[in-house]
């Protein structure tokens, strides 16, 4: 298991990138070997209550599709051609037994495709425990808090049965504190990248963040602390580039090379929402008090906005403008997965708002599987040129 990453920071990022590409989930296998009998829960993006899974003595592992590493032989026969890549490749992972190390899978109400994926997997793999968390969609009033607490309780009941462990309030508080620490460390890295983009490239931050989805949070925290210590001594070359915010890849993830192409083509990515930065919350979840109520309130009132969480008290198009302003960005790049309905619906909303604020934007659509990026490079370079040479 990669308990300790290479002390060479450059090698660290390469190791993380290798981990993302490996569809055998080697860190999960190592964890199971070290914890005989312990269970692993794979969760589909986003807003999964990792703290609950952790407090149950289980390893939460994010399901982020299969990237470009898997040829689809089953999923295309079960889903229409208009379904996004991550849904299909996750089903393919399940049907080719690549999720065999997961003792259960958790989905939530983020979109129709994800909702149906849960039960398509269940139908095709009847032996696996599949659960579904109903996240409330109405943020007004406290009824949603109570509803979400009841959902968490239902989930805990199932997880206790599966793991044989009891989830105590104390264990939940401990897990919340550890995940708070993780989010704070990630936020520090995001702040560093915003301030010194030449010293921490986005692809590096991205692989470091995503690799944390495959290891215990305590291990990830160690990695993050190590990198944060090394970063101030790192140098980087400044380039002619435009500062952008990248928006739209909160669930399905773009190919890593596409992120690199964006940077090479002249974009300094000052902020992004890749897997929501795994931050999910704008502030710490309070540790003291009722842990489940604290989590429910945090989801409802302090979670990072995305196209699958609807909060009309603080509309997300306004939050995007705030994000652009805070990042001192000149433009926004919408990096949306093909057939991602929530992101595509929101594009209209965002586009209108950005045009009114005279902030240029570039829409790009990606699929998990892409091996050449010339077209993307040309589009990004043209966009950069249109701003650099205006």
């Amino acid at each position: 298991m990669m308990e300790v990453l290479s002390p060479n920071i450059e090698r660290t990022f390469d190791q993380c990138a290798e981990l993302l590409r490996d569809l055998t989930f080697p860190t999960v296998a190592a964890w199971k070997q070290e914890h005989p009998g312990a269970k692993v829960i794979g969760y589909f993006p986003v807003y999964a209550p990792s703290e609950i899974i952790h407090a149950c003595g289980m390893l939460p592992v994010a399901l982020h599709g299969a990237g470009d590493g898997l040829e689809l032989q089953h999923a295309d026969a079960r889903f229409g051609s208009f379904i996004c890549s991550i849904v299909k490749s996750t089903l393919e992972l399940a049907m080719t037994d690549r999720l065999a190390q997961m003792d259960g899978l958790l989905f939530s109400t983020i979109c129709d495709s994800a909702r149906n994926l849960a039960w398509v997997i269940k139908r095709n793999q009847p032996g696996i425990y599949v659960d579904f968390l109903h996240l409330p969609h109405n943020p007004n009033g406290t009824a949603s808090h109570h509803f979400l607490v009841s959902e968490y309780r239902r989930l805990i009941g199932h997880l206790e049965e599966l793991s044989g462990n009891k989830v105590t309030d104390e264990a939940l508080r401990n897990s919340i504190a550890i995940y708070n620490e993780n989010r704070r460390l990630l936020s520090r890295l995001y702040d560093f990248r915003m301030e010194h983009p030449e010293r921490l490239r986005t692809w590096e931050l991205y692989v470091l963040m995503r690799a944390g989805n495959f290891v215990p949070v305590e291990t990830h925290n160690e990695w993050l602390r190590g990198v944060l210590e090394e970063l101030p001594g790192r140098s980087g070359k400044k380039r002619d580039a435009i500062r952008v915010v990248v928006e739209g890849s909160f669930c399905e993830q773009p190919p890593l090379d596409l992120i690199k192409v964006m940077e090479e083509a002249g974009c300094t990515i000052a902020d992004d929402d890749f897997i929501l930065g795994r931050r999910w919350f704008n502030a710490d979840i309070p540790v003291e008090g009722d842990p489940l109520m604290n989590m429910a309130e945090s989801y409802q009132d302090r979670s990072v906005y995305s196209s699958v969480r609807h909060d009309f008290r603080n509309p997300r198009h306004k939050q995007l403008l705030e994000k652009v302003k805070h990042a001192k960005a000149q433009a926004v790049v919408f990096l949306t997965a093909k057939f991602c309905e929530p992101a595509c619906f929101d594009y209209v909303l965002f586009k209108k708002e950005l045009e009114a604020a005279k902030i240029p934007h570039l829409p790009l659509e990606f699929e998990e599987k892409a091996y050449t990026f010339d077209r993307f490079r040309m589009e990004v370079e043209t966009f950069v040129e249109s701003l650099l040479f205006e």
Binding site: K237, R239, D240, A241, G266, R375, M378, T382, S386, L388
Partner: protein, 280 residues
């Protein structure tokens, strides 16, 4: 006298243009066209040398060179590279200063570009994973009809009753064409129908950016009179097409290069502003 060059290394042909600025007027003084072939780097050099020879100047007199086209990063002697979208926009503006929209239909892709009064790119859109509306599509249709690409345009204009095409898929259109021919439809009506289907698809793509007049068409397909007519029918406007449309990318690149030469002269270093450094 200041000189600048634009070199557009395309997949089949390399185009080079020399621009001159005498302080009063910016003038295109030479063009050159060479086959790209297998050695992309050499093609860029050959095109540039041929254009310098045509202009009667030594390559050293050229203050700045901008490379564009798919082989732009192979132009080792150039100062910087820009995309063909930026360059086509600027080139179309040079050829027709009233241009606000560029429709570029090339061999492998088609693009629509919305441009500002100075030829700057405001918005653009490209075809995605589909060759409909490109030279490749028309090439396939020509093959099925056993016709040369050059004959296709004038021949399709004879069609009075264009057929309806089910698909604009480059592969499946063949079935449609064969089916109509088997039904005894006239080849010119079939071709006319193909052009209309492609024109509608291209205009749908173009409408993702504001399609505002005047519209200038560039790219190899602009030489196909049948396709041009179909586009004009669908858009309801006349397209501006220059005999130099083929050089639009190189012209735009040369215009950007000339700007750099002039910026450099004003800054007093005589070598042009430094190139955009996008590298790692």
């Amino acid at each position: 006298m200041r000189y600048a060059a634009g070199v557009d290394v395309g997949s089949t042909q390399t185009k080079a243009v020399i621009m001159q600025d005498d302080g009063h007027e910016k003038k295109m003084i030479a063009t050159a066209l060479v086959d790209t072939g297998a050695n992309v780097q050499k093609a860029g050099g050959n095109g540039f040398a041929a254009a310098c020879k045509e202009a009667g100047i030594a390559p050293e007199q050229v203050g700045y060179v901008v490379g564009t086209g798919y082989g732009r990063y192979k132009i080792q002697f150039g100062n910087t590279q820009m995309t063909e979208i930026s360059c086509h926009a600027r080139g179309a503006h040079f050829l027709f200063p009233n241009t606000r929209t560029v429709i570029d239909m090339g061999g492998q892709d088609s693009k629509a570009i919305s441009i500002g009064p100075e030829g700057n790119v405001l918005d653009f859109v490209m075809n995605d994973k589909c060759a409909a509306g490109t030279g490749r599509f028309l090439g396939n249709a020509a093959d099925v009809l056993a016709m040369s690409l050059d004959d296709m345009g004038p021949f399709s204009l004879k069609g009075k009753n264009p057929v309806k095409i089910t698909t604009v898929c480059t592969v499946f259109v063949e079935s449609d064409i064969l089916s109509y021919l088997a039904q005894g439809k006239k080849a010119e009506d079939v071709l006319s129908g193909v052009n209309l289907a492609i024109a509608r698809r291209t205009v749908s793509l173009a409408r993702r950016v504001p399609v505002e007049p005047a519209i200038t068409m560039t790219g190899g397909v602009s030489r196909n009179v049948g396709m041009v007519k179909a586009l004009e029918d669908v858009l309801g406007v006349t397209l501006q097409i220059s005999p130099l449309a083929h050089f639009a990318g190189a012209i735009g690149a040369a215009m950007y290069a000339l700007e750099k030469v002039n910026e450099g002269s004003e800054a007093g270093n005589g070598e042009g502003a430094h190139a955009a450094n996008r590298g790692n």
